[in-house]
Symmetry: C2
Subunit: 219 residues, 2 copies
């Protein structure tokens, strides 16, 4: 049983996804991610990441029997290509410095076979940031979050607490005023170092294990 990614081109018609999920369920495979969009030429494109597929050839054959389906293409998964994600949120000045540390460090690991993406959004304001942090669970492949700001508390802290309860997300915070640091796994003063450590904490090619540091440690 293996994991596969399929790109299916179809006529844009309601119910096609329903037909597709019905066939996948019949093959007892799981869908872990889908993304749908309409191409320039009006053709619908459906990307599916599948887990626990027993017989991919039989599955593709059954999918091709749906009359609206034009083609089914098999390729590497998003996880294989873009790998683990680190999300950096906060003010532009800090986010750009953390990103610089993280991208430079990710480059060193990706050269050795890792796949780590560094994704960012410069965003300020208590409610907007709280909403973005809570919505981290909507995003696929996120392994670590870096809080790159100068002052974060209140609703932002509540969001960080909720995300930590629901997932194994690693949270690294810059050293800053505000209650958000109470829920971080690691608090770092230098933004470049925060970016480097975020990558090291999720890289299989690194010897660093954040769990050996203890909780809520400040540097």
């Amino acid at each position: 049983m293996s994991d596969y990614t399929l790109t299916i081109k179809t006529d844009e018609k309601k119910g096609v996804l329903d037909d597709i999920t019905y066939i996948i369920t019949n093959h007892e495979a799981n869908i872990s991610y889908t993304h749908l969009f309409i191409e320039k030429n009006g053709v619908g494109s459906i990307n599916l990441e599948l887990e626990h597929v027993k017989d991919i050839d039989a599955l593709i054959r059954d999918l091709k029997n749906i009359s609206e389906i034009k083609s089914v293409e098999l390729h590497g998964s998003q996880f294989d290509i873009y790998g683990k994600r680190i999300i950096i949120v906060g003010g532009g000045a800090q986010v750009s410095q953390v990103a610089m540390g993280a991208i430079t460090e990710a480059d060193r690991h990706n050269i050795r076979g890792e796949r780590i993406s560094i994704d960012t959004i410069p965003l300020v304001g208590e409610n907007d940031l709280a909403e973005a942090i809570e919505a981290i669970s909507l995003l696929p492949r996120v392994h670590a979050l870096v809080l790159a700001g100068s002052l974060m508390g209140g609703e932002i802290t509540k969001s960080v607490k909720k995300v930590k309860q629901e997932s194994n997300l690693i949270v690294i915070s810059l050293n800053m005023p505000g209650s958000v640091t109470e829920y971080a796994d690691l608090i770092i003063t230098d933004p470049i170092q925060a970016g480097v450590l975020a990558v090291m904490s999720i890289a299989d090619t690194a010897v660093f294990d954040i769990n050996r540091l203890g909780e809520n440690i400040k540097y």
Copy 2:
């Protein structure tokens, strides 16, 4: 008719997604994005972005009738929260500099109500890069791609050409040896400026219109 995002918590059981898509099809709504994962406590979490929903209350009521579904939560879409994405790919040295320009510029637009994310992967090697560029279509919300390297051609160029044919993606390339610049909308020598212009080319808050520059212009 409106767009909504639902987070559905369910018992992890094969066929639940099939039941959900069946109900959504019956309500004549479209699914534009889904992401599924298992929480720490073993509960399945399904995020659905829906388009053209006629009666969201009736839809939620019908979903809650599925016996495996524990809760249905309505909230802002990924697009509302994380907005348009710029993807920067290439070597770490260049990617980090383009990211710095893009993050700093995105900060200025996001403060004025935009939502622009700057997402990156430091990646080298002709085939790995070609695969990552071709897979851009697997990622949601991508509006621009920046090729941040020192030498790109061959398979990478073929991928850029294919992506340009299938989508309206804006492609900005650093000025470099290699055929990849032939298919870029804009070729920029300074990486900081390339990042700034990538943001300006997709920001509604910017007065810059890349289509007014003509094709394949070099700076």
